[in-house]
């Protein structure tokens, strides 16, 4: 047993909280589901290894050599992973400063706040690394199996990148705290983390669209122009790729750099973390004045409910990063639309399903906030308004918000290809309606602040929402292509929705 209030003791405490939190999140807080969770994890691992097998083995069997083409693809993939890690680390570091949870207890105790925050920052680095490892690990395993164990060095590269991203995220967040103050930091760091997370993916896609006219972000890394223009084989730019391919000295240097930076950042800055948390807590309790209004506005009950939902959505600080990412991912389709304006059907085949899918996901998220994330459920339920009218108003608020985001794209489409725009509009309508209805069927009262973990409310709702938006997107693509298969696919989605409705939980009277 470790001594109380030491680094190891806090580490054990954090690990225990993380583990219980994770299990609770994955099992939706229901006991006895651990064996099912283990089974799902095994199935997921097998599936993702199969995917990696089909994508990687053709190259591995041919023998992978560290030429420029390979280094460009690996480095590009590394940058993609790194941008996601940096985004996740920035959001986690910001949350660590603003989330109150147990910080009041810890900061009011005689324990060293420096140790607590050092452990929390290490935990963020590990969690950041773990998430990417879950996705990248199967590719490393398959490469190690078919091309040699030297590929296992990829895990070391992931660890180095996780440490580097977290160290960088801490420095950037604290610099924002000092430069901009706690009030602006929360908002700006959300925007920055969303832009960083989506930025590289979108940039690579945009470059592919502009140079090759194709949508795949990998196209840009296979482009002969990029390979020809890339630096020579001795460039430090290729260190992560070389390390991932098993160069021991490069891997050691990369690990030294990543872990060293994280250690220096934690040692240098953790002493002041407590001050930032105190400053952030001041921001939480700071009074926010709204524009003074002198008059109540006459409105019907439904309009009052819609207006309330839109006001709360507008003022939700964490919603920004959650939805900004979804909206940012619409940028490449918009670029594709602009580039192929009116002259190429293949562009629309990619553009329309992306718009349809984004609509479903956006609507699902907003519906969760409006229905499950209702802050005053008893107040609304005790009002003399039928439940059906309340739900209708909330649905209208959600659909209205989706329309504001998606309508400009569909309108632009209408000028380029009216038939395609009609298909897109229909797809957006059914996808958004499906996402919203699923959240209504599976509504479960939750705190609005837990929006980023809304999937814990119901795994079935999460899967059904994803399935319906993906399949509606596929149906829309088939319709754009003029394929009769669309007529077969639409009933499948409706069947899935019917099945989801049939197994919805019974709402308490």
């Amino acid at each position: 047993m470790s001594q109380p209030a030491t680094l190891a003791w806090f580490g054990r405490h954090e690990l225990r909280l993380f583990w219980r939190d994770w299990i609770s999140m994955m099992t939706a807080g229901k006991r006895g589901r651990e064996p099912i969770l283990a089974g799902v994890a095994v199935v997921f691992a097998v599936l993702i290894h199969m995917l990696a097998y089909f994508l990687v083995v053709p190259y591995a069997r041919a023998g992978i050599v560290p030429d420029k083409g390979t280094l460009v693809v690996l480095t590009g993939g590394g940058f993609l992973a790194c941008s996601l890690m940096l985004s996740q680390a920035m959001e986690s570091v910001t949350r660590a400063f603003y989330a109150r949870s147990d910080l009041d207890l810890i900061l009011s105790s005689p324990a060293s706040a420096r140790r607590v925050f050092a452990v929390r920052m290490i935990a963020i680095a590990l969690a950041t690394t773990l998430l990417t490892t879950v996705l990248a690990g199967p590719f490393i395993n398959v490469l190690a199996f078919y091309d040699g164990p030297h590929w296992l060095a990829g895990y070391g590269v992931l660890l180095a990148m996780g440490a580097l991203s977290t160290g960088f995220a801490i420095v950037v967040t604290i610099a924002m705290f000092r430069g901009l103050g706690p009030k602006r930091t929360r908002f700006i760091s959300q925007v920055v983390s969303a832009v960083v997370g989506a930025g590289f993916v979108i940039g690579a896609q945009a470059a592919a669209i502009l140079s090759t006219g194709k949508f795949s972000r990998l196209e840009i890394f296979r482009s002969q122009d990029v390979i020809a223009g890339a630096p020579g084989l001795a460039s430090p730019l290729w260190w992560p790729a070389r390390a991932a391919m098993g160069e021991g000295a490069t891997l050691a240097a990369l690990l030294g750099l990543g872990l060293g930076l994280l250690a220096v950042v934690i040692a240098g800055l953790s002493a002041n973390f407590g001050d930032h948390v105190v400053a952030a807590s001041g921001e939480v309790y700071e009074r926010k004045r709204e524009r003074r209004r002198e008059r109540f506005r006459p409105a019907s009950v439904k309009r009052v409910l819609r207006r309330k939902e839109w006001t709360l959505l507008r003022r939700d600080p964490w919603l920004m990063s959650q939805t900004l990412m979804q909206i940012l991912y619409l940028a490449p389709p918009a670029l594709l639309l602009w580039r192929n304006f009116g002259d190429d059907l293949s562009g629309f085949l990619i553009l329309v399903p992306i718009i349809v899918m984004a609509s479903g996901q956006l609507a699902g998220g907003l519906a969760w906030l409006a229905v499950s994330g209702e802050d005053a459920p008893d107040l609304v339920a005790s009002a003399p308004v039928p439940e059906r009218a309340v739900l209708a108003a909330k649905i209208e608020a959600v659909i209205g918000a989706v329309v504001v985001v998606i309508a400009p794209l569909v309108l632009a489409l209408a000028f380029a290809a009216p038939r395609v725009a009609a298909v897109a509009a229909l797809g957006v309508a059914v996808s958004a309606a499906s996402g919203t209805m699923i959240q209504i069927w599976f509504r479960a009262q939750a705190k609005r602040s837990t929006f980023h973990r809304r999937q814990t409310s119901s795994r079935i709702a999460t899967v059904a929402e994803a399935l319906s938006s993906i399949l509606w997107a596929g149906t829309a693509a088939l319709l754009v292509a003029g394929s009769w298969f669309a007529a077969a696919m639409a009933p499948i989605v409706l069947l899935i929705l019917a099945g989801t409705w049939a197994i919805r939980p019974r709402q308490a009277p």
Partner: protein, 250 residues
């Protein structure tokens, strides 16, 4: 609507969760009466009030609000009811002014009328300096006052309050008590649960004591004292005696 009907009438009310929470409860609150419902933790007070407010459906029994069958026509019954719980039901991101506008809209109060009432309530409860600040920075007492203002903005004839004074400082508690007393003088009826027995002792015209989902005693303070055999003693002594007797009998 029956003008001679009591403000609230419960008959044979039953609600089971994993055990009986309300077990055949009969209770009447007269029009214009301040009624305090007392009981130990888990006695069924909150469940009873949530049923009356239309937030829970009973397994059996009848609920009548000013003669309206609240189970058959909940919307009509809710028009005359306001519900305030110990956890203030307000929106952090709205200001008190916006919150009252929202609540008035839910009860379909004309904007001009609601606005005048809202201004009066905001002034009455000392919320004027904060009327256009988001509620997120408010103390528990201020939040409870905003929730109470929301409950009063549609001028309900029956106020249902579950521990409305929990966590309030002395000044805020006094303000809330004054507001409630004024509403009763104005003809409204109040049913309230509280663990602060001094509130029931000073404000309530009749007191009901509930235990294990059943009404074990009811009456004015004097009637309860007589029943407990504690003439001149405090409500606390009377309450503890009645509950102890009930437990001994069970």
């Amino acid at each position: 609507m029956d003008s001679s009907a009591p403000a609230l009438q419960l008959r044979g009310l039953v609600k089971h969760f994993d055990r009986p929470a309300v077990d055949g409860l009969d209770l009447t609150v007269r029009t214009g009466e301040f009624y305090a419902l007392l009981g130990p933790n888990g006695a069924g007070k909150t469940t009873t009030l949530r049923i009356v407010a239309g937030l829970l459906r009973p397994d059996a029994g009848a609920v009548s609000v000013f003669g309206i069958d609240a189970l058959a026509d909940p919307i009509a019954a809710k028009r005359d009811i306001a519900w305030v719980s110990d956890e203030p039901m307000i929106y952090d991101k709205l200001t008190p002014f916006e919150f009252l506008e929202f609540v008035a809209g839910l009860w379909s109060i004309p904007a001009q009328v609601a606005e005048a009432r809202a201004r009066e309530l905001i002034g009455w409860l000392g919320l004027e300096p904060h009327a256009h600040e988001r509620c997120q920075s408010f103390s528990k007492g201020m939040r409870q006052k905003v929730a109470l203002a929301g409950a009063l903005v549609h001028e309900p004839r029956l106020l249902i309050l579950d521990e409305p004074l929990t966590g309030l400082d002395a000044g805020s508690a006094r303000q809330v008590k004054d507001v409630l007393a004024a509403r009763v003088r104005g003809g409204a009826s109040v049913i309230l649960t509280t663990h602060i027995l001094e509130v029931a002792e000073r404000l309530a015209e009749r007191i009901g004591v509930i235990d294990k989902g059943r009404l074990i005693a009811e009456g004015t303070l004097e009637e309860l004292r007589a029943r407990a055999g504690h003439a001149g003693s405090s409500l606390e002594d009377v309450f503890l005696e009645l509950v102890a007797r009930q437990n001994a009998a069970a």
